[in-house]
Symmetry: C2
Subunit: 468 residues, 2 copies
């Protein structure tokens, strides 16, 4: 028998209300679970449980032809509702930007501060780049262009990839982004959906753990240890892979440790990811800052599974220009370009022309790298003098010494170091709970690095005496 | 009797699956409704029916102490899922960028094309701006700066707002963005969550309907009519407000119609939004392109509920510089700045210095506006000659004439116009299903506009004859 529109609408309304009733019943159960957990002292968020429930929901949905996206969105809402039901503790709010802000404040008040907290080289862009971008500006290269980026620039990147890695890509594999951060955001936004997981090897740059929730996903962290020379155990990585894992970020030379993986480990990680159908996001923005060479994802075959993140900030000192790029499968690149088209239109052409000039400068990255490696040697020498333990960096622009637990709270200790000695650093807690470590940036003049580490030595000694 | 954790978890999982089953049952009913509607020729979205269902769901939720927000978000998701079920027609894939691409292709092949499809003025930045930005580049103003933007630039915006609107804001109400698009994205990302609704008055710029799903929300559209002079009915707007509505976008001078609301209607809309606790996002990027003056959200009191979107692209011809700003409540501004910090770090300082110079040029916006208004007069004159109906724009850089239904598909007709007459325009279908209309952009030289409209006249006449 056919129902009429009014009857059908009444039925659809009844079922919508029924949906709320089921939700209410589930919330009651969740409340009981929360009470149990409180008694047992267990955390509110149980990712494995959530994952299993999501999977069961999707399985049921598939039977009825309900789009995955609809269920994923509803699951996310009921899970976040459940967590809100269960928790009430505020999250840690201070970051190394707060240290930066305080350092600037102290300097403005006439205080001498060794600024070893910033992840920005102090080198600036080569004069050729400045002139090229300035001329492009004067000549009016400032209209909307292709969201993927300037054809000439992408072509030049294609050539450089072939020269460096003997690997053939096409301009369709390249998209120009407003900086490395945006490149990572694009990778996360295109690879991860609501409820997906991003694997991160700690210690790691804070952005990785921030970008996952920003796109509705979750970051899952694999710890590595100083004692293991910051080399991840393949088994440990594999143990953290779930059916929700969609991508893993590799960042070598590493921020903050300066580690570069040996080729065998690197390749094993890539293979592991490929076997599990997981995309490798390889953030290689420090690739030119190396002592002996670098292992790149581009040395392997670039299949659908690889996303390279690159930037002009480090190799060419173009930090404030905000320009970087992604190399990936062309379908992914097309998606990224359409996001750029939606939210930014394009990276300014005059900046892209500056970057094109930069790529023609074969010596600049080497000169900049030489400066960083010279500073690295000085930092290493000073750290040895104060008796700190650290992994001797293979590259990058940071050293990550162990200073021990000097106080209850790593961030508070970093602030104390800043206030008492005028040395600004990033506490290890920011890189995944490495409270015993601090990150020293080499983006400052040599004198500042040397002086900063000496003052750090004094600070550690004084704290030690005060304790003991 | 107490259940243990395992039993409780199994029960919570069962209820999650039960939720999907109820949803599946509801979808079946919705399918039947869709068939009925197709027979009756009724539209898929029925705001009044949706509202009644939502109300019933909230009523049930209240009995169980479920937060309204949870139910609102779930309701929006099941409604948008239902609409997708009902409108089984594939989504239109071609945009005016495809027309742009084809136009460029034809030009490259030596064909003369009147380029009236692009929303970009052809004016370029004033020489003072170019020089200022170029000098800043040469002087090395290219390091990371405050994500909120350069203090001097924000201070200057504060001054200008006071001068223009007699309204006091502080630099904490201002955040500099990489263009107007990013400003709108930031507004959407900070104001809307999964399952929220964004109210849009059609005809409207396509970005508004794209940004809502991009942040997990849904855009709900209120139609306005040519016959009503594109003035929205306050009642119609109110009918489309639901408890999930978090923001409404106003865009006057309007893209594509050139409409500016009278102050009474504008204020009524703002009041309506305020009464319902809805934020008004006022996109005023065309504010300087006006015949007699402009109604701004800043003329009203700027409370928490208002977000102004502004850009340097139109007033100063700085399209490819990618710089704009938001004026809003300081908490919202802080959130937006932290998003910029996360995904872009900051807008390049040399660009911000160019913008600072631009703000000091009092005549440039007037000169640019005069050019646009001169072109507007010419376009109006030519459109009258070919006998097209249109609303005479109060401002903006577009005319939106009714050309009638010249074919089955508006986009196909636009391509036909391009191929046969060498005239590129944006079909009205892109602005919310206004298939009888086309958008003519005034971002092209006067001759091009005049010639393009004459050729359009020929095209319409020929199509008319062909039909008999």
């Amino acid at each position: 028998m056919e129902m009429d529109l009014t009857t059908l609408r009444a039925e659809s309304r009844r079922l919508a209300v029924e949906l709320v009733k089921v939700l209410a019943a589930r919330r009651e159960i969740v409340n009981k679970i929360a009470e149990h957990k409180k008694t047992l002292g267990v955390e509110a968020v149980a990712p494995d449980v959530e994952k299993e429930v999501r999977r069961a929901m999707l399985e049921e949905a598939a039977k009825h032809g309900i789009p995955e996206e609809t269920i994923n969105r509803i699951a996310t809402i009921i899970f976040s509702d459940a967590v809100e039901q269960q928790t009430s503790t505020p999250k840690q709010k201070l970051t190394h930007f707060d240290i930066l802000r305080r350092a600037v404040e102290l300097q403005k008040n006439g205080r001498e501060v060794q600024r070893l907290e910033v992840g920005e080289p102090d080198l600036g862009a080569p004069p050729e780049v400045r002139h090229s971008a300035a001329n492009a500006l004067l000549e009016g290269y400032a209209r909307y262009i292709d969201s993927r980026g300037l054809a000439e620039l992408r072509a030049q990147i294609v050539n450089q990839v072939y020269e460096k890695h003997g690997f053939e890509i096409t301009p369709e594999n390249v998209v120009i982004t407003p900086g490395g951060r945006f490149a990572i955001y694009l990778a996360a936004k295109t690879l991860l959906r609501e409820g997906d997981e991003l694997l991160v090897i700690d210690p790691s740059w804070p952005m990785y753990r921030q970008v996952a929730p920003f796109v509705g996903a979750r970051s899952v962290h694999v710890k590595t240890l100083f004692e293991d020379g910051w080399t991840p155990s393949i088994d440990a990585v594999e143990r953290h892979i779930s059916s929700s894992t969609k991508a893993i970020i590799l960042n070598y030379p590493n921020n903050p440790t300066g580690k570069i993986l040996d080729r065998t480990t690197f390749n094993k990680l890539v293979e592991l990811a490929t076997d599990h159908g997981i995309t490798v996001i390889s953030d290689e923005v420090y690739a030119d800052y190396v002592r002996d060479g670098h292992v790149s994802i581009l040395d392997n075959d670039l299949g659908k599974q690889h996303v390279l993140i690159q930037s002009f900030s480090k190799s060419y000192g173009m930090t404030g220009y905000r320009i970087g790029y992604v190399i990936a499968d062309k379908n992914l690149v097309a998606k990224m370009a359409s996001i750029i088209g939606l939210v930014i239109t394009c990276v300014p052409e005059f900046i892209q022309r500056g970057a094109l000039t930069a790529l023609g400068l074969r010596d600049a990255p080497k000169e900049y790298a030489a400066i960083m490696m010279r500073r690295m040697e000085k930092a290493v020498h000073e750290l040895e003098k104060i008796g700190a333990e650290f992994y001797r960096p293979d590259g990058g622009m940071y050293v990550f010494p162990r200073i021990g637990k000097l106080g209850e709270d790593a961030m508070a200790t970093a602030f104390e170091l800043l206030e008492s000695k005028g040395v600004a650093v990033a506490p290890g807690s920011l890189f995944g709970g490495y409270d015993d470590f601090i990150r020293i940036s080499l983006g400052a003049p040599d004198e500042s690095i040397v002086k900063g580490i000496r003052l750090l030595g004094e600070f550690i000694a004084e704290k030690g005496r005060a304790r003991g």
